[in-house]
């Protein structure tokens, strides 16, 4: 009896956060693959590079949030209707900003992000070159 009560309490603890979610069944194609394997591969690759807006830090492919499911449904439907992954990404970026994409485009606000690796690599190269030359002497 005591064991059952403990289990029940544990279950209630897990269930509490679910209050913030709807109990609607998921949207069409949210958790179902596209019949066309090539399209599904494209959609899957795209979903892995789109950020979930609710559980930030997860991709919509990994997230269980309702909104992520609705976004997967939207991505699959758009890919199925013939849109390219880049078009779908651009459509979402127009609404949520580059933030929604794990592949931020090169822009004035992301220029540091894109160029920093090359600058650091060049800096390292110069240091290494200097040190090697000195050792050769």
């Amino acid at each position: 009896m005591k064991g059952a009560r403990t289990i029940l309490a544990a279950l209630l603890l897990i269930a509490a956060p679910a209050l913030a979610d709807s109990n609607m069944p998921s949207a069409v194609l949210a958790n179902v693959q596209l019949p066309d394997a090539a399209q599904e591969a494209k959609a899957k690759a795209l979903m892995e590079t789109l950020r979930c807006l609710v559980c930030q830090g997860q991709s919509i492919a990994d997230s269980n949030a309702d909104l992520a499911a609705d976004m997967r449904s939207l991505v699959r439907q758009r890919i199925q209707s013939g849109e390219t992954p880049d078009q779908v990404r651009a459509w979402l970026v127009k609404r949520y900003g580059a933030w929604v994409s794990y592949e931020p485009p090169l822009g004035t606000d992301t220029v540091l992000l894109w160029l920093a690796p090359f600058v650091l690599l060049a800096l390292g190269g110069i240091l290494a070159l200097g040190s090697l030359r000195r050792r050769a002497r």
């Binding site: 709807s22 609607m24 949207a27 807006l53 930030q56 050792r135």
Partner: protein, 183 residues
């Protein structure tokens, strides 16, 4: 040893690591002290509301389409859900705005007609129309990422303001100012 030779020739080189560390530490401290803001604002401000047509979210209410918004007067578009707890918290504020003659329309997210009707009887109905968005399609098209959220849309159907989270008494001035500016 080559390093002492280099620093002897250029003594300021000795300070570079310390300056680098202080710079990084300053950036980190500033970043850590900044309050965390997980809200994602819509990039649709200043854009026309994307075309949509949603069916009625409950019996005895009318559905909502984008053409209802471009009728010459500014609207409040309130995105809510019966399963959303903070949506109940903003009900008194919406009620007050509706009483002042502000046209408020609703978009119910992932909701059932019976649940929406129950929500309206419990917390009042400030809405002229309520569209049912069962798959968040219109919500995503508006660049909204949660409930509740409210958009101020001007008479031409252009989005002017996004309020993320419930409209609390202290937010009323901002919302009313945005409505006045949209007129």
């Amino acid at each position: 040893m080559s390093a002492p030779v280099a620093t002897a020739r250029r003594p300021w080189l000795l300070w570079v690591p310390l300056i680098g560390f202080v710079l990084l530490a300053t950036i980190f401290v500033i970043g850590l002290r900044k309050p965390d803001d997980p809200a994602i604002s819509s990039k649709m401000i200043g854009e026309t509301v994307p075309a949509f047509a949603l069916p009625a979210a409950a019996r005895d209410v009318q559905g909502l389409s984008s053409s209802d918004l471009a009728d010459g007067t500014p609207h409040l578009v309130n995105i809510f859900a019966s399963w959303c707890v903070p949506c109940a918290a903003e009900a008194p504020q919406l009620e007050m705005l509706a009483k002042n003659g502000v046209p408020i329309v609703g978009i119910a997210i992932r909701d059932r007609p019976d649940d929406v009707a129950g929500f309206l009887t419990r917390y009042g109905n400030p809405y002229r129309r309520i569209g049912s968005d069962t798959t968040s399609k219109v919500q995503i098209a508006l660049g909204s990422s949660g409930v509740p959220e409210t958009f101020v849309v001007d008479g031409k159907g252009v989005i002017r303001l996004q309020k993320i989270g419930p409209i609390l008494p202290q937010d009323m001035a901002d919302v009313q100012a945005a409505l006045a500016a949209a007129r």
